[in-house]
């Protein structure tokens, strides 16, 4: 019982600080490096023109990258159009439809668990595996069954776009349902019971109890969807590799941006990193000016649990 507790020479406060630093220093460092430094670097890069010099790249100030990026952006009407269609469809189907289905699942209606698992299954497989299977279905299987010599992905940009859009909706739906239904499961049953005693209908229950309960999650998903409108590549690289011919493939900015980044170098390529950095800044300016006020409005005027 008289066991002596050995203590180091450090004071309790110091020990706590060491522990705290050991725990948080790496994530903070990572945050500063990957989230702050890289963004800072790409902003600087957008205003630079580089050449190779002794010991490293030598940069000089230029607006040329923005000129290039603006030309690309303004000539990309078809890419913007496709991205907006994807965004709108996802809002309606994966978010809107996901909310309804999540309510169905949260209420444990007929075979809801089965549907939930089935819908979530695609998330468990790697993207490449799914795309290969889907491609196989739209090419080999379709060709064999229909006798048409051309697969559905190879009939032009419009046909391919519909196929790719369907794939993205299918794959994305289960994930949203999983998150929304989990959030909905946190709704207090006594509140629901009390409302029922008041004669609430299932639709009213959904609109006035469940939606307010998961509204912050909904806002996050909604905003994230808009934020990703120019970076969502729709897995086009897995479908069509680096093809950027817009007459033939349903190219969107996310895919264009990705392919060009893989091909770019600091200097000596037709499209350079500084060009792409400027394009990224243009995307950011446009989206930030939409997202920040929209988020504020949604949180201020949206339904509340209380």
């Amino acid at each position: 019982m008289d066991k002596k507790i050995k203590r180091s020479g450090l004071k309790r406060g110091a020990r706590r600080w060491i522990f705290f630093l050991a725990i948080v220093s790496l994530p903070v460092l990572q945050y500063f490096f990957f989230a702050i430094y890289t963004k800072f670097e790409s902003v600087l890069m957008a205003f630079q023109k580089y050449k190779i010099g002794k010991g490293g790249y030598v940069g000089s100030f230029t607006w040329d990258n923005f000129e290039w990026a603006w030309d690309v952006f303004t000539s990309g009407g078809d890419m913007i159009g496709r991205s907006l269609i994807v965004m709108a469809t996802k809002m309606v189907i994966t978010i809107g439809g996901g909310l309804f289905f999540s309510y169905y699942a949260a209420k444990k209606y007929f075979m809801s668990n089965f549907f939930r698992v089935t819908l979530y299954l695609p998330q468990m497989l790697g993207g490449i595996v799914l795309v290969v299977l889907y491609q196989y279905l739209l090419s080999d299987v379709y060709i064999t069954l229909s006798g048409d010599p051309t697969g559905l992905l190879d009939k032009g940009a419009d046909s391919a776009f519909i196929c790719v859009l369907f794939y993205n909706l299918w794959v994305g739906f289960g994930g949203n349902v999983m998150v929304f239904s989990t959030s909905m499961s946190g709704v207090n049953e006594s509140v629901v019971e009390a409302a029922r005693l008041e004669g609430i209908t299932p639709l009213q229950e959904f609109l006035y109890i469940y939606i307010p309960a998961i509204y912050p999650t909904f806002v996050t998903y909604f905003i994230a969807l808009i934020a990703g409108v120019f970076t969502d590549g729709l897995q086009l690289y897995t479908f069509f590799a680096g093809n950027l011919d817009r007459d033939l493939y349903p190219v969107v900015f996310g895919h264009y941006f990705f392919v060009k980044t893989t091909e770019a170098k600091m200097v000596g390529t037709v499209v350079t990193y500084p060009n792409l950095a400027a394009l990224g800044i243009i995307f950011s300016i446009i989206l930030t000016s939409i997202i920040l006020p929209l988020r504020k409005i949604m949180l201020k005027h949206g339904p509340r649990e209380d």
Partner: protein
């Protein structure tokens, strides 16, 4: 317990942070306590793998077991790690030698950054057995490894792009052009292209001598002109229909492989001199300035014969934009339109789930399994190594009933559009980019132990014996003058034997397209014809499939105007 968990947690985080630390140059693998010198090599594992290197390292360490590179140390260890050169921060890396794909940056650019070790001493070493490396490196390859008159790298493996063919099938079906004097022939007038040629009707029939004009060489019986190339496919499709052979295949998933074919054919049609002028934007090239109403080939009226002019490019005139109108490129593209429209492509070319491994199976399996039987394949010469690595070659042994090897070969591509323009003795150039490279990290400068050890290692890898061993092991060549004995050639697969035999030892038919002029270097990314280069963004097989564009339209899309060119030059 809480304290224990907290300590473990904290220790884990700290150790994690340590684990994320950079590989410093001073994290010496050259341990002062070690009794051997140790160098580390970063080796690009794609392309030719690392078995050749492991074997070479074994021979090297054995040969230098009693050599001392530092006081108190005897012998050397070479540690090989897989990876590629992907950063300019070499100074902070602990690798001394890099065997790279060359995809990251050219040697001259890396040298300009000051991160490469000056290898001039190794390259000009007169004590080397045989000749100096400087005298052995192909002249065309040298600029790619030099900066300011000094050498900073050595050529690693070379790839060729174009067409491979199933020689066993060609032998079986008699798909060779017959010698003029031969009587044992099948006279064939094309159903699609209206020209007539004789094909051999038996294996003993005499074939044409091919472009080199020499009998019993790789190009015997091969098409010398584009019209013959098309006639060959016409013959396979229409005359040999009972054999169910598709003339040619390309991956439906990766249509980029057509670019490899276009690149090889463009270079072959334009020839070495014109392509050097092209990449340097100086000298004469043939360009297209308009189109006639005449068909390009008799019987094929959907592609018009272009109006071709020879122009002289100079840096002063800033007329390099004319390179984008290179006539040879148009002809090469036109063949793809013909191949598609006349139905010469195997169905795999139109199936987006068919990748390059599947097309390799088409070639190797030769109709066995579920793959179409094809006569030719659009690919880079490295495909055979890929097929080996992916197990396609091993599967063939089973499928064919223990037959050892399918006789596939590299095809010499036509050098002229029309047979009347074929110059006898004009050999189809084997195109290869400067590509893969062997370089040394500049951070070893001043460390005599590393300097001596790296020089010894690289010199060893480029000794005559090791150059030969490299080719025998990998089937790939290096852009240096070296030879193989008949026994060594016999050890290689037939495919690589054909590639080796197509190559002239002195490099006279190896075309290394690397610009040396200021304009050429500046515009390289705009006009180069490599896989996935900007120029080919305007070309796509599916334009033919869907009828959205024809060859002329795609060719015109590739053109640069004088003002756009000036923008590039001024950028």
């Amino acid at each position: 317990m809480k304290k224990f968990v907290a300590s473990i947690l904290a220790a884990t985080c700290v150790l994690g942070a340590i684990g994320c630390g950079p590989v410093g140059a001073d994290m010496g693998n050259n341990d002062a306590d070690s009794d051997k010198t140790e160098i580390t090599v970063k080796n690009y594992n794609g392309g030719v793998g690392r078995k050749w290197l492991d074997n070479a390292v074994e021979r090297f360490t054995e040969a230098y077991a009693n050599e001392s590179f530092a006081e108190g140390k005897t012998g050397i260890d070479v540690k090989v790690l897989d990876g590629d050169l992907t950063t300019i921060a070499l100074g902070s890396e602990a690798y001394q030698v890099y065997i790279t794909s060359g995809a990251y940056m050219s040697v001259s650019e890396l040298a300009q950054l000051g991160i490469l070790y000056d290898m001039t001493g190794i390259v000009t070493d007169t004590t080397r057995k045989g000749d100096t490396l400087e005298n052995l490196i192909y002249d065309g390859a040298k600029p790619a490894f030099m900066h300011d008159g000094k050498y900073y790298g050595l050529p690693h493996y070379a790839n060729s792009n174009g067409v491979s063919f199933d020689r066993d099938l060609f032998d079986e079906a008699g798909l060779y052009f017959a010698d003029e004097e031969e009587t044992d022939v099948v006279a064939y007038t094309g159903k699609d292209i209206k020209i007539t040629r004789n094909f051999v009707s038996s294996e003993d029939a005499k074939k044409t001598v091919g472009m080199d004009g020499v009998k019993d060489t790789e190009d015997d019986g091969m098409p010398c002109s584009l019209e013959e190339f098309i006639l060959l496919m016409d013959y396979i499709k229409n005359e040999k229909s009972d054999m169910s052979i598709s003339p040619i295949v390309v991956s439906g998933k990766y249509h980029g492989y057509i670019q490899l074919y276009l690149q090889g054919l463009t270079f072959s049609l334009a020839g070495s001199e014109q392509m050097n002028n092209y990449s340097n934007c100086t000298g004469e090239i043939d360009i297209i300035t308009g189109y006639t109403e005449e068909p390009l080939f008799p019987g094929i009226d959907y592609i018009k014969k272009p109006i071709v002019e020879t122009v002289t490019l100079t840096e002063e005139d800033k007329n390099g934009y004319l390179t984008t109108q290179l006539a040879a490129k148009y002809y090469a593209m036109a063949t793809v339109e013909i191949i598609h429209k006349e139905g010469y492509f195997a169905k795999e070319a139109y199936n987006t789930s068919v990748d390059h491994y599947s097309t390799q199976k088409c070639m190797i399996y030769a109709g066995a399994a579920e793959y179409d039987r094809v006569a030719m394949l659009m690919e880079g010469s490295y495909w055979y190594n890929e097929a080996k690595k992916s197990g396609v070659l091993n599967s063939y042994v089973t499928i064919s009933g223990d037959r050892e090897e399918r006789g596939v070969a590299w095809m010499s591509l036509p050098t002229a559009v029309y047979s009347k323009d074929v110059k006898e003795g004009e050999i189809s150039p084997i195109f290869t980019g400067p590509g893969a490279q062997v370089v040394i990290n500049a951070n070893i400068k001043g460390n005599t132990e590393y300097e001596k050890a790296c020089a010894a290692f690289v010199s060893f890898l480029y000794s005559d014996e090791e150059l030969a061993a490299f080719t025998v092991e990998t089937g790939c060549t290096r852009n240096l003058k070296y030879s193989l004995t008949d026994e060594e050639i016999g050890k290689m697969p037939k495919f690589y034997q054909s590639l080796w035999n197509s190559r002239k030892e002195d490099g006279s038919n190896t075309l290394i397209n690397y610009p040396t002029t200021a304009t050429g270097l500046k515009v390289a990314s705009h006009i180069e014809l490599n896989l996935n280069s900007a120029m080919w963004e305007k070309f796509n097989l599916y334009h033919y499939v869907r009828g959205t564009k024809n060859t002329k339209q795609m060719f015109e899309d590739m053109k640069y105007t004088a003002s756009k060119w000036n923008e590039v030059l001024d950028s």
